[in-house]
């Protein structure tokens, strides 16, 4: 199980996956890699990195402010 917190939607979801590439997760959530930053277990990762069962992932929106 991968826990995913989507900051811009104030929502947390659980994925029943053993492994997923970050870019695939980003696109699955309806974003493009330039629109979000992925933080895995407190560390910033690139869209090419893998996310594993048991990881906690935060999806931080790039657009903020006024």
């Amino acid at each position: 199980m991968i826990r995913v917190k989507i900051i811009s939607r104030a929502k947390e979801i659980e994925l029943k996956e053993n492994k997923i590439i970050a870019e695939k997760l980003i696109r699955k959530l309806g974003f493009s890699p330039d629109e979000v930053v992925v933080v895995r277990n407190g560390e910033v990762i690139t869209e090419d990195d893998e996310i594993y069962d048991g990881d906690f992932v935060e999806i931080i929106p790039v657009a903020s402010g006024g």
């Binding site: 811009s8 493009s32 330039d34 690139t46 903020s64 006024g66």
Partner: protein
Amino acid sequence: MRCSLCKKDKAVIKYRHSNMYLCADCFKKVFEKKALVVLKRAGVLRGSGKLIVVAVSGGKDSLNTLYVLHKYSEIYDYDVIALLINEGISGYREYTIKGMISLCNKYKIEYKIVSMENEIGFTVDFATELYKKRKIRWKPCTVCGVFRRYLLNKHAREMGADFLATGHNLDDEAQTILLNIFQDSLYRVIQADYISREIVPKMVPRIKPLYYIYEKESVVYALLNKIPAWHIECPHAQYGMRADIRRFLNKLEDLKPGTKINLLLSREKIIQKTKSLKMPMKYCEICGEPSTHEICRACQIRNVINKFL
């Protein structure tokens, strides 16, 4: 993925247009170097004892700008003061003010907060209510932008600033270029890139240290440096055309990485070719501030909104 520069550490960011990966340390160096290029080109580092007032909203971009300028002020001889305009946007501005105060206290940076309600007589929230009731035609972002620029320039000048630094990043700039073209405002496209191109009395020259920095880089930099920024969007942003242009540009960038930077590079070429074109600057007949109109936009809006107070 390993860093393309040091070939050692794990990458934290990928540049899709160049297929380059950077680790945290190399990324921070590249980020700060890009800001330094702007400071050098804009002439900020020439001479000594200059005062840079940093326009801070409390979001990641303005806090990163403040942090980087403060960091370089320890090497180069200039002073930095943060200036925040509180436009009165509830559920948003009170959080971002906390971020600015926290960063300023941590690094002992002087700051000043100016209340739009005290200075102008109303808040952006009040103007938004009038817009929703169709009593005024100006969108919240227009009202906010006009009065923020007005108050930032006025207070920076009164503080004796040599430069007013803003947190505009590469994405903001690419959006602004398109916005101005769509509104047939060529002058606005060419009047400023990383520095305001004309010297106008009473107008503090503006610099944009994050001009060559993508918005995504700004988020990563804030996270890596534990900058106390709130990653939230202004509740009134939905009313502006900028949000549509941002989505459009992000889609294009996804299809063809490098689209946004190419827009900025094209503007620089246009500026070189149109150096003789000058914005017709005047001074407002009511308040005396620099403006392109007989009566500045701030006074035009204020005259209408004052009727509802």
